[in-house]
Symmetry: C2
Subunit: 445 residues, 2 copies
């Protein structure tokens, strides 16, 4: 046994794991392509300040950071958004708006490895920059739904919970000065996880009659949970033109999601506020609805970030899906994502005398796009059985037999592995077409 091991929280991808990972990537790419998102990428190693600029010094506890041989403070990226912000900021003048971009990249966080959380993981990020209206939020949320569907998840297995930090801001303004609203939102973030008394006590530091404030918040949440009609009735009762206008944006968002055919995956849930201070509008999270309600993805609008990275005022909305929880869920559901490619053809070669003919055929078939494998070892005469066994083990669709008889006659024998039928064909220009036909239709038994 090897004494060498990979680091804790890092994965090795043997072919089956790699095929599953690549299947996920393929699904994400395909969903993004259909919606007109273009792929970008950025370095996995970045200057440390890129990440502290967005998230503050506290992010450093989670970073793989070090000083490189040139004395630069650097870190492995914990997320894509700061790099994206830099890319867009640097070319904000020349990029056509809206920028609809996605990336699939490895990210790194020094956290305690546990189920659903590793130190290295892949993120699918999709963002729309340069469009402030809810149409962009809708297009992003639709891609989030379609990306999870493309992975193999179905209606009823996940949902997108949408909320709105603006609605919360406008609503909480009557209780709290604006600068302190994020603090109140972090109380609301724990609304279901802490006793009402504790919440009330916390609210008390912001408003004298915490009981009324708490009741008001609960009424809002309950109205929102009863659905759109009840929520809009509640909004009407609030007598705030800001809330009223914002309700129109929410209405437009939900209408667009309906139009795009994803409304059944979406639910307005005021409990989602998302911890990150940089979100400025609609926020959303994807949760699995079966088994544990784990978060599969999250995102929202972040209209101030590009400016923070030295760019102009570019509104932005986006999300990220991590690969670890999605892969866990799909494995629990026994829904495979991608299989290792099998050979179309395994060449069974009579002996060394027939190798040249066999290799020539391999070259031709491969040039025609077929996946071809054959024995690499020194052949003894008449090891047909051993090689046919290999053809079976590698799950080749056809075994193509080139024994002395076949070569003498300028033929090959083709064995269709699944049906166990075989027939002889001329080893000439017609062979590729015949073989393609057999791969699709099989051999007449």
């Amino acid at each position: 046994m090897s004494t060498f091991q990979s680091l804790p929280g890092f994965r090795e991808f043997y072919p089956e794991d790699c095929a599953a990972r690549n299947g996920l990537f393929r699904a994400w790419r395909e969903a993004a392509r259909r919606q007109g998102f273009a792929e970008y990428d950025a370095p996995v190693l970045e200057p440390l300040e890129l990440f502290t600029e967005k998230s503050g010094e506290e992010i450093r506890t989670q970073l793989f950071e070090f000083e490189d041989k040139g004395g630069r403070k650097v870190a492995l990226r914990p997320e894509m958004t700061p790099s994206l912000a830099r890319l867009v900021a640097a070319r904000a003048g020349s990029l056509r708006k809206p920028v609809k971009w996605f990336s699939i990249g490895e990210c790194f966080r020094y956290e305690k490895p546990q189920k659903g959380r590793l130190r290295s993981f892949y993120q699918f990020n999709a963002d729309i920059l340069g469009e402030a209206g809810p149409g962009a939020d809708a297009e992003c949320i639709a891609l989030l739904v379609e990306s999870l569907k493309a992975c193999g998840l179905e209606e009823g297995e996940f949902e997108i919970r949408i909320s709105d930090r603006k609605l919360w801001f406008y609503f909480l303004k009557k209780y709290v000065e604006e600068a302190k609203i994020p603090e109140v939102l972090s109380i609301i973030d724990k609304w279901d996880r802490e006793p009402q008394e504790v919440l009330r006590q916390k609210l008390g530091t912001y408003w004298s009659d915490a009981q009324i404030m708490q009741a008001d918040i609960n009424t809002f949440m309950e109205a929102a949970e009863l659905g759109r009609t009840r929520l809009f009735e509640w909004l009407d009762g609030q007598n705030s033109s800001q809330l009223r206008d914002r309700a129109n944006d929410l209405d437009e968002l939900l209408e667009s999601l309906h139009g795009l055919g994803v409304a059944q995956f979406v639910r307005f849930d005021p409990r989602i506020v998302r911890g990150l201070a940089y979100y400025t509008g609609f926020v959303f999270e994807a949760y699995q609805k079966i088994g544990t309600a784990r978060a599969l993805a999250g995102g929202g609008r972040y209209d101030s970030l590009i400016q923070k990275f030295g760019g102009p005022d570019v509104p932005a909305v986006g999300f990220a899906i991590g690969d670890v929880t999605v892969t866990d869920l799909l494995q629990e559901l026994k829904r495979p994502l991608g299989d290792v490619d099998k050979p179309d053809v395994y060449l069974v070669i009579g002996g060394e005398a027939e190798r040249k003919t066999a290799l020539e055929l391999a070259g031709k078939l491969r040039a025609a796009g077929l996946a071809v494998d054959y024995p690499l070892y020194q052949l003894k005469e008449n090891q047909f059985g051993k090689q046919l066994k290999t053809a079976n083990q590698v799950d080749a669709r056809l075994a193509v037999i080139l024994g002395p008889d076949e070569v003498a006659k300028g033929q090959v024998k083709i064995k269709h592995m699944k049906s166990n039928s075989e027939a002889a064909f001329a080893n000439d220009a017609s062979l590729i077409e015949n073989m393609r036909n057999i791969l699709v239709n099989g051999l007449p038994v």
Copy 2:
């Protein structure tokens, strides 16, 4: 302008760059698939000792290495082979031989960035493990040729120079004790870059009559350069059964390359010895033949490495192509590798009243696999011109117009952008089929 910048020697991939990179990856994957290689991957961050075990402490000058928050000495991988060796060593008992694996992964070296050399780059690695005979070397070299062809390189633009460290060992044995042969090989590695006097002086420390030794080496090189027939005549004259047997292996290798249809890309070149001490047999390098003769790839047989990583005795051969020089070359040749996906359809929407119909159509077309884009901003009435301009700018193949008239009639107007022709179609179940047809055949003008 942003003051944030990426690190020196690291690349940002804007969509055009990312499409080119992904095109390269796709080409490599496709070449590997046809030859029955399966993809694997391993962590980009590994324990430091993994790399010093293979290459010694001197590799550390090139590494991005640090201590992680758990006090582990770690490094970003400078190459894939040590990780591959660990993966194979750990499952050597259960993996079916031969293992034919490839990977496409990012690697990192702290070197002075210059043309063709960056601090972060991608490597396509392909290896065959578990087969000692020259059939495996041939299959690897064939994949190297096919991978470079798949990138877009053609005959005459690159060549594979093959050499054999065993041939050199058996030949040099009469002059030097075995342990010192690697030192002599490092002299031969500089054979064309240093004056003959200097070489002679160096050889003098190993053999009293350096002039004879040098002449002997030159005769061998010249014979090899005159081609196979002359090389084998020379080998016959050497009166060494080891050299004779090895010549048979070389013969088998060249025969196999001929059979596989890649002999025209290959040349035996004894000057290739490859610096790395761990190679044990055939070695090869790919060079571009136009412009500067830069190395594009390198590889060879390394039969002792898996044991070094705690595994059993597993023979191995493999190669790596870096993406930087290949991409440079293809850019010089103006041979694009991959384009950013264009939308099949851009929806031109009369106004907000028609948005719902448009979004429903977008959802349907995307579900059918078409790439669909549309304006996300709040529409004013009759901005057809502006939107058609966008359809043109984003290079959409079709503009699908949904004005009030079309929606009232339950129709869409389809404009084929290239031919500038347009026609009305029913917006019903027949539309997707009609649209697919137009995408293939265009519209009757």
